[in-house]
Symmetry: C2
Subunit: 404 residues, 2 copies
C-alpha cells in the first residue's frame, strides 16, 4: 500500500470542483463543492445519531437507499438544519445539479455544514451550479476540500493505492472537522471515493465497521453535530473482480480504507477548533473492546485533560479522573499512564498512583504538537485509540461569536 | 421559611474554623477547615461515583456507617487521591483531630480537595490542628468556607430557619465548586448542618432524594471529580420532636434543605472556573422526569452552547443540537426555546425551527450575568432545571496551568 496524491480524485473516473456561489459573504472562500464519478458508483453512507438532523441527510438517505450514486454536492456556511423549508431546498439543489450533469436527481448525495437554523435560499445554488459543473477536474480535490471547510484551518485530503487480484485500486477522501465534533455513527463530513469494484452490500459493511474504530473515536468538544455524514462511492473502474464477500480482497480493501480514515481522523482531531495539538489516547490491556474504547474516549473528552495538554502540564491525575468516571469497569489499582511525543516518553503513574518523574522532561515532551497519552489497564488484551485536541483560548474565541 | 446569616454555624450547637496550616504555599490562603457539633449528630453523606476515589472518602464512609458524626475536617490544596499512603494520611488526620477535640476518630468526617496524585504529608495537619481547634467559633462559617476553596472566587454559604412543631429549626451549609464539576451522586464539597432532630435513616433519605434534583444537576466542565462529597449533620438541638418517618415535618425539612441546596447550586455554577455567567436551563413539558433531566443537563454541558453564552450570542441551534444528541426521546418538531434574564425574555425557536427575533434585544438579554435557557418540549407535564456556566478564556487559562 502506498500513500499517493490526488485526494478524492485519485481513484479512476472521479472529478471534483469547489467554487464560491455566494452562501458566504467572503468572496474569496469557496462554499460549494462537487464530486463526480464518470461511472455510476455503489454508495454507502453513515449519518449522525443526533435526533435533530440536517435536511440534506434525510434527502441523501432517500437517494442512496438503492445503493448507488454518481455525484456528491456539499455547501458550507449554512447547515440547512432546523429550517422550515430545508428538505425543499436540499431537493431543489439535487434537481438543479441533476439537470446540469444530465443525471437523475436521485443519484446525488447532498450535504451541508455551517450555522444551524438560518434560512437558506436556493439562489446561490442556481447561480453557482453551472460554474461548479464547468470546473470539474481531475485536479479538483483540493478545491472541493476547501469548499466544505468552515472553521477548519487546514485542508484534509488523502489517498492510497493498493492491489486487488493484480489490479491497482485507489481510495481517497476529503474531510472537514473543526467544531461540534463528537461523532456517533459518523463524523462531520467525509467524502471517500474508490475505483475498487465492490458490491453495495460489502461497501456498506466495510464503512460501518471501519467508522467504529475511526471517526466514532474522535472528539473535539463533545458536541455531536446534526449534520455528520461519511460517504463512500465505489465506481469499479479499477476493473478488479468485484468484491462480493469477505475474504482476502475484502481484507485488503478494509486495510486501505482504514489507512485513509485514520489519516483523516488525525487531521480532523489535530485541526479541531482552536487546537494547537493533536492528542491521541492509546488504551491497551483492556478486558474487552468496549472498555478500551470507553476509556480512550473519556480521556480524550475531558475538558480538564485537554486544558492541561494546552498548558503542557503533565497533570496525569486528570487522566485517572476521566478513566474513573468513564463508566468502564476497570481496576484502578492496575493503571499505568505515560506521555509520549517526538521528544520521548515518560511514565507518570503506576498501579494507579503517582511515581516520581522529571517535570522538565515531561514539559519537553508535552510542548510538542502531537501527543500520545498511553494508558495500560493491565487487565486483558484489547486496545483502542481515540483522537482529540487540546482546549484553548481560541476554541472559546471561535465559538463565543461564530454566528455573528 | 427565612434566609438567615451564619452559614454552617447558623444551626444551634455548631462551630467552625478555618486556618492556614501550610499545605498551600500562599500563607494568606486558609487551607484547613473544621466544623464541630457540640452534640453528637446524625450524619448522612453521598459521594462521587468516580471509580477513582479520594482516600478521605473511603475513611469517611467507614466512619459514618453507624449514622453519627461530631466533626468534619477538610483541607484544600491537595486532593489526597492516587497517593500510595492516602488512607493512612486521612486516618492520621482523624486521630490527631480526635485527640485534640477529645472525641473518637470514628466520629470525624474527613475530606480533601486540590491536586490529584501529589504526596500529602501529615506535618501541616500536626502543626495546624491545635490552632484550628482553638479558633472554633460560632462566627467561623466564613473562615471554614474559605479554607475549602480552590479556584473558587466567591465564598459559598447560606442558611435558612424553619418551624417544625412549634420549634424553630435551622439548616445551613458551605460549599466549594469551581472546576471538575459534573457531579454524579454528589458534588465537589458541600457541608450542611442542622439542629433539627431527625433520625439517621430519614436524614439519609432526605439527602439522597434532594441531590438528584440539585447537585447532580450542575455541570461546570463535564468532569466528575474523584472527591465529590455532600455531608449533612443533624444534632437535634432545636428540640423538635424527632422526625422518624415521612409526613408534614419531613416535608418541611425537605423544603428547607432544598432551599439551601438550590442556593448553593446556583452559587457553585455561577462561580465555575473562569465563569462570567450563571446559566440555568429550565426544561418543561417533558413526557417524564428522566427526559426533563437528560435534556436540561445536555444543554448545560454543551461546550458550544456555553461558549455562545460567553459571547452573548443567541445561537439557539446549539441548544437544539444538544437536545438532539442528549439521548432523550423527544419530538424535535415540538420544541420551543427562549432566552431570559433580568433584561427580559425572547423566543427564538418554535416547532423545532427558527423564528424571526430581534438580535439586538437578544444581545441585551444575554449580556446579563444570570441567563435562563427555557426549553418547552410540549409533550407532557414534567420539568427540571440544570445549572452551569459559560465557557471562557479564563477556564482554559486556569486549567492550562493549574498544577504548576
Amino acid at each position: 500500500m502506498e500513500i499517493i496524491s490526488g485526494g478524492v480524485c485519485a481513484a479512476k473516473g472521479f472529478k471534483a470542483a469547489g467554487v464560491h456561489c455566494g452562501i458566504r459573504k467572503n468572496r474569496t472562500k469557496r462554499d460549494l463543492s462537487l464530486i463526480y464519478s464518470e461511472k455510476r458508483a455503489t454508495a454507502a453512507a453513515v449519518y449522525t445519531t443526533n435526533l435533530v438532523k440536517g435536511a440534506p441527510l434525510t434527502v441523501t438517505k432517500e437517494h442512496i437507499k438503492d445503493g448507488f450514486a454518481k455525484a456528491i454536492i456539499c455547501n458550507s456556511g449554512n447547515a440547512n438544519t432546523c429550517n422550515a423549508n430545508g428538505i425543499e431546498i436540499a431537493e431543489q439543489t439535487c434537481e438543479l445539479l441533476g439537470k446540469e450533469l444530465n443525471i437523475p436527481a436521485e443519484d446525488i448525495v447532498v450535504a451541508s455544514t455551517g450555522v444551524i437554523g438560518q434560512p437558506l435560499d436556493i439562489a446561490p445554488f442556481k447561480n453557482g451550479i453551472p460554474e461548479l459543473v464547468l470546473s470539474l477536474s481531475e485536479n479538483g480535490s483540493e478545491q472541493a476540500a476547501e469548499g466544505i471547510m468552515t472553521t477548519d484551518t487546514k485542508i484534509k485530503e488523502v489517498a492510497v493505492s493498493f492491489n486487488i487480484g493484480g489490479k491497482e485500486c485507489k481510495i481517497g477522501g476529503i474531510a472537514k472537522g473543526s467544531g461540534m465534533i463528537h461523532p456517533n455513527m459518523a463524523t462531520m463530513l467525509v467524502f471517500l471515493t474508490t475505483d475498487c469494484a465492490i458490491s453495495a452490500e460489502m461497501l456498506k459493511k466495510a464503512l460501518s465497521t471501519d467508522i467504529q474504530n475511526t471517526f466514532n473515536m474522535i472528539s473535539i468538544d463533545g458536541d455531536t453535530s446534526t449534520n455528520d455524514m461519511v460517504t463512500l462511492l465505489a465506481n469499479g473502474m479499477a476493473e478488479n473482480e468485484e468484491i462480493t464477500a469477505e475474504g482476502e480482497a475484502f481484507n485488503t480493501f478494509m486495510k486501505a480504507l482504514n489507512t485513509v480514515t485514520v489519516y483523516l481522523c488525525r487531521r480532523i482531531a489535530g485541526d479541531g477548533e482552536g487546537a494547537t495539538k493533536l492528542i491521541e489516547c492509546k488504551v491497551s490491556g483492556a478486558e474487552n473492546m468496549q472498555t478500551a474504547k470507553t476509556v480512550a474516549k473519556s480521556v480524550i473528552c475531558s475538558s480538564l485533560t485537554k486544558a492541561a495538554m494546552f498548558g503542557a502540564d503533565a497533570n496525569w491525575g486528570r487522566v485517572l479522573c476521566a478513566i474513573g468516571y468513564s463508566g468502564a469497569d476497570v481496576d484502578v489499582n492496575k493503571i499505568e499512564v505515560s506521555f509520549k511525543s517526538a521528544m520521548g516518553e515518560i511514565a507518570v503513574c503506576e498501579n494507579g498512583a503517582g511515581i516520581p518523574f522529571s517535570e522538565e522532561k515531561a514539559k519537553e515532551i508535552l510542548l510538542e504538537n502531537e501527543i500520545e497519552i498511553l494508558v495500560a489497564l493491565n487487565s486483558g488484551e484489547f486496545s483502542s485509540t481515540a483522537w482529540g485536541c487540546d482546549l484553548t483560548y481560541d476554541y472559546v474565541k471561535i465559538n463565543g461569536d461564530y454566528r455573528t
